[in-house]
């Protein structure tokens, strides 16, 4: 069974490549009845030649799940191409046949705009065996719970940042087979002007106390204070 199929037969069989690869990617063992089902779904009678070729493709695609490097994947793609399958369907079939390393929800974290000195928390849900969560930014901390099991949680802690600072980085989640980068973004509001108009008394007497991180109105008739302009109150 090393001879390539004739072009006409191959063209009839090619629509089976995608469902076969997805089947392998979903860790379903494509036994003969599964192959027959695939063939019927593409309107090809489950004749001996067709089953034999699908068995051949299955053997090649099953190697994909253990391929660790791009070179190994390329070698598997060449094996498929030697069966007459063109380059791009071969690459995509291998991609579909590899069970996903990790599925992470959400795919990215955006903490949005934070007040100076403020921190934040988020949680990632991870499906697949998580080995390690790596952060390289000293404003971030990632702690994984239930590590090693099929489903785990990663607690992400964003430490307080200073006014005007921004953060664009990734958390690297390493699984048993491959890794996933989760982009993280945050920015801290710029420090307000030292003196501005007070929204209560309308005088230019609202002082920003950078040490206590709060506004203080210096008008003795007003004296409001608070961490933000919308949270000003008399003490």
């Amino acid at each position: 069974m090393n001879n390539q199929l004739a072009e006409e037969k191959l063209n009839r069989l090619l629509p089976a490549l995608s469902p076969l690869a997805k089947c392998i990617g979903a860790r379903i063992v494509p036994e003969e009845h599964v192959l027959e089902e695939i063939l019927r779904s593409i309107d090809v009678a489950p004749e001996e030649w067709a089953i034999e070729e699908l068995v051949f493709w299955t053997k090649i695609l099953q190697k994909a799940s253990t391929a660790a490097t791009d070179d190994e994947k390329a070698a598997i793609a060449v094996e498929l191409q030697n069966r007459g399958i063109l380059e791009y369907p071969a690459i995509l079939a291998i991609d579909a046949a590899i069970p996903p390393p990790l599925i992470v929800v959400p795919r990215s974290i955006n903490f949005g705009s934070l007040k100076p000195g403020e921190g934040a928390n988020a949680t990632l849900k991870v499906r697949g065996k998580l080995v390690k969560a790596i952060v390289r930014n000293n404003r971030l901390k990632a702690t994984s719970l239930n590590r090693g099991s099929e489903n785990s949680l990663v607690k992400v802690q964003l430490l307080a940042g200073s006014a005007g600072e921004s953060l664009q980085d990734n958390i690297l989640l390493q699984g048993e087979r491959g890794e996933v980068k989760v982009p993280v973004a945050a920015q801290w509001e710029k420090e307000p002007p030292r003196l501005q108009h007070c929204p209560r008394c309308k005088r230019k007497s609202l002082f920003w106390n950078r040490y206590n991180k709060k506004f203080e109105c210096l008008n003795l008739n007003c004296k409001v204070e608070g961490p933000s302009l919308d949270k000003l109150a008399r003490p």
């Binding site: 090619l14 629509p15 469902p19 380059e87 791009y88 369907p89 995509l92 990215s108 664009q168």
Partner: protein, 466 residues
């Protein structure tokens, strides 16, 4: 200024880019340029996760392009994670600078535009090279097992300096079973089976679109342009009928419905160029594409066939002594007095006339086969090494290509002579008396009709036609 964060970056694209105002908004998305003007960023209007997965697969495929392929296929190089923290679906490609690039449509939409291009120094030979560039980009895609699915003259950018062609909008590729079609295409270039909904875009429909584009580039008109109205009340339905079930080649030998009024009249006299001005091999491909294959997709010529045939056509050009335009020398038209320049109509072909040589491919045991390939060689023209090498097709550029001979006009005997410029000895049998001669380095041979020139074992053979 907004920050676009990227992932799945390839080919040195940074992790984030700065963008400002939109450069262009289309039906599918908005295009921005990065602040350093190196990249174009497309943000899709519809934020669908399926589109994101689709694009992830396309970038995966792009990683396998060679450096040369990446030059003429403007592939998505990275995907957009978010813009200023707001999750977005989008992709990044390199930005093709305009100028020197412009859309193919801008250089060939009408004969008038073409004439303007001729005035600024572009020749019809450049259009032949552009057509070959168009075919090359489609051939690479089709050869890898995918279809572009939206080939039209707005999706090719042409370098006005060197006729290089770049194919854009590669974010809707079709790989059967893996990447389903995203768009149907553009009327005028869509295959009839796609227009009528009998099939979705695929490699075979790409073949139709490619043929329509090539002929448009060479003849400055859409050879499938309908000239009949089928539904005067509904424009869209009219287009669907005329490009679909009633589609017919404008030069169909039996059905004259779509025949242009001034067909065959020289272009500079407000005429419409006929496909009969093209080389015999190109005429045959045209007939396969628009007569035999119009409703039989499997019979359409492949992109690879177009490349080869367009490349051969570059060796069959001749320059009009009157308007100085290059055109395929019509050696198939006999008698010679009927030959005319398709641009200005000049019929007087003045000496020194070119020689027409037939190329034969070496087969086993000293046999040769004619491959419908010709060479038109005139005084001062060079014979390049690739022409004789049976393993090679004509390269995209002959800059740096070795010349093995050249033609000189012998005014005494009024014949062209081919001079041997290499060290290899050639053997020839003269057409006039059948005598065998040896052509050493720096010696020459008269190109008389019937003369056969043998350049050595394994190389192509030339026979002088006229």
């Amino acid at each position: 200024m907004a920050i676009v964060r990227l992932y799945n970056n390839t080919r040195g694209v940074p992790n984030w880019l700065e963008i400002s105002e939109p450069a262009h908004t289309g039906g599918e998305g908005t295009i921005y340029f990065s602040r350093d003007r190196r990249y174009a960023i497309k943000i899709y209007h519809r934020q669908e996760s399926t589109k994101r997965q689709f694009l992830e697969k396309i970038t995966l495929l792009g990683a396998n392009l060679t450096a040369d392929e990446a030059q003429f296929l403007c592939w998505p190089l990275a995907l957009v994670a978010d813009v200023d923290g707001n999750e977005c679906v989008g992709c990044v490609t390199r930005r093709i600078p305009t100028p020197p690039y412009t859309t193919l449509m801008n250089v060939m939409l009408t004969p008038r535009q073409a004439a303007e291009q001729f005035q600024v120094g572009r020749s019809w030979a450049n259009y032949l090279q552009i057509a070959r560039g168009v075919a090359r980009s489609v051939a690479v895609l089709n050869g890898k097992g995918c279809a572009h699915a939206d080939l039209h003259f707005g999706n090719f950018l042409v370098n006005s300096g060197n006729s290089d062609v770049v194919l854009i909008d590669l974010d809707g590729l079709v790989v059967p079973g893996f990447l389903p079609p995203q768009v149907a295409g553009m009327y005028g270039f869509m295959a009839p089976e796609v227009v009528i909904g009998k099939s979705t875009p695929n490699e075979r429909s790409d073949r139709h679109s490619l043929a329509a584009l090539i002929l448009y580039t060479l003849l400055f008109r859409n050879v499938m342009e309908p000239r009949v109205t089928y539904d005067s009340d509904n424009e869209d339905n009219d287009a669907r009928i005329s490009w679909g079930k009633e589609a017919i080649f404008s030069e169909h030998p039996q059905d004259r419905r779509n025949r242009p009024r001034m067909l065959g009249v020289p272009l500079f006299q407000q005429g419409a160029l006929s496909y009969h001005i093209l080389t015999p091999a190109l005429q045959r491909l045209t007939e396969r594409a628009f007569i035999d294959g119009l409703y039989s997709p499997d019979r359409r010529p492949s992109a690879r066939e177009w490349i080869n045939t367009l490349s051969w056509a570059l060796d069959e050009l001749w320059q009009c002594s009157y308007c100085r335009q290059y055109f395929p020398y019509p050696h198939w038209i006999k008698p010679m007095q009927r030959r005319a320049c398709p641009f200005c109509g000049q019929r007087r072909m003045v000496a020194p006339l070119p020689s027409v040589l037939l190329l034969y491919e070496p087969r086993s045991r000293g046999n040769y086969a004619f491959t419908q390939r010709y060479l038109v060689l005139g005084n001062g023209w060079k014979l390049f090494a690739d022409v004789l090498n049976s393993q090679r097709n004509p390269p995209m550029s002959r800059k740096g290509e070795l010349s093995v001979g050249h033609v000189e006009w012998d005014s005494k005997s009024e014949t062209n002579r081919l001079v041997n410029d290499e060290d290899t000895i050639w053997r020839a049998r003269l057409g006039e008396d059948g005598s065998d001669i040896i052509v050493g380095s720096s010696t020459s041979i008269p190109l008389q009709p019937g003369t056969t020139i043998h350049f050595g074992e394994g190389r192509r053979l030339l026979v002088v036609g006229e």
